[in-house]
């Protein structure tokens, strides 16, 4: 099992910075062969559709490279707002905090190692 990458977003990113993050992160996944990416957004107070799309992109791109993405630490106000906006981060796993995100990645990857063809079970807990 490869290592996990942990990214903590500390400030409200403007667009170019967010795109840079997407780019850098995918390169890191490719270089390190990481099997899991944790994005800690507990310090992010606003997630609009642009930011939401970046998170979704990172998850989709990582999956193609055989890594799973977990977004952790979303603030309650952000979650409530995203639901109203209509953005439910399809295909992205979520966890309460980094520790729980790590646990989730371990189970997901453990499952995958044991029963490699059980993709459907796996999809169940992704947001949809």
């Amino acid at each position: 099992m490869g290592p996990f990458l942990l990214v903590t977003i500390q400030i409200d990113l403007y667009d170019r910075l967010a795109l840079t993050l997407e780019n850098d992160l995918i390169n890191m996944v490719s270089q390190t062969g990481a099997r899991g990416v944790l994005i800690d957004i507990s310090a992010v107070s606003i997630v609009d559709s642009f930011m939401g799309r970046i998170l979704g992109n990172i998850a989709s791109m990582s999956r193609i490279m055989d890594a799973e993405t977990v977004v952790v630490g979303m603030q309650p106000a952000v979650a409530i707002t995203l639901v109203e906006l209509g953005l439910t981060l399809q295909g992205v796993y979520t966890a309460l905090n980094v520790e729980k995100g790590m646990e989730l990645l371990n189970t997901k990857l453990g499952d995958n190692l044991e029963l490699d063809d059980d993709e459907e079970e796996d999809q169940d807990d992704r947001n949809d």
């Binding site: 409200d12 667009d15 606003i46 799309r53 106000a77 707002t81 953005l87």
Partner: protein, 137 residues
């Protein structure tokens, strides 16, 4: 309707988005708007300035603290001189986008605020006005 505070911000580059959002937050904090309502308003505002930058290469926002019928709230007016929107009903639909995007910005912003008004003249520009009350209703 009484206007109590007024401010205008020019939005010309994507770097203007974050300071603008912070300004809206300042207004919200000043009138004692709850965190969830601030987050909803700022997210809606963020969608609308992004549209302004993406489709009209910028514009300006008027920020106002208003009072009406014993309620206090924030009114934001987004004005641009861009291409305008020909079919407003279509643009307001979930999933409609000419920018190969999610098409969530306009309908999502409308769901997030208490009052939403969009006026547009093709070839002249677009004005979106939103109001969000301190208590979210």
């Amino acid at each position: 309707m009484i206007v109590m505070t007024k401010d205008t911000m020019e939005i010309v580059r994507e770097q203007d988005v974050v300071p603008f959002r912070n300004r809206v937050r300042e207004f919200g904090t000043r009138i004692g708007m709850s965190l969830v309502n601030q987050t909803k308003l700022i997210t809606a505002a963020s969608e609308l300035v992004r549209n302004m930058l993406k489709y009209a290469s910028g514009g300006r926002v008027i920020l106002e603290v208003i009072s009406h019928n014993a309620k206090t709230g924030i009114r934001l007016t987004f004005q641009d001189e861009g291409p305008g929107i020909a079919d407003i009903a279509m643009a307001m639909r979930d999933g409609f986008s000419t920018g190969r995007s999610l098409g969530l910005g306009l309908p999502g912003a409308k769901r997030l605020v208490n009052e939403f008004d969009l006026k547009s003249n093709p070839g002249v520009g677009t004005t979106v006005t939103v109001i969000h009350w301190k208590h979210g209703r």
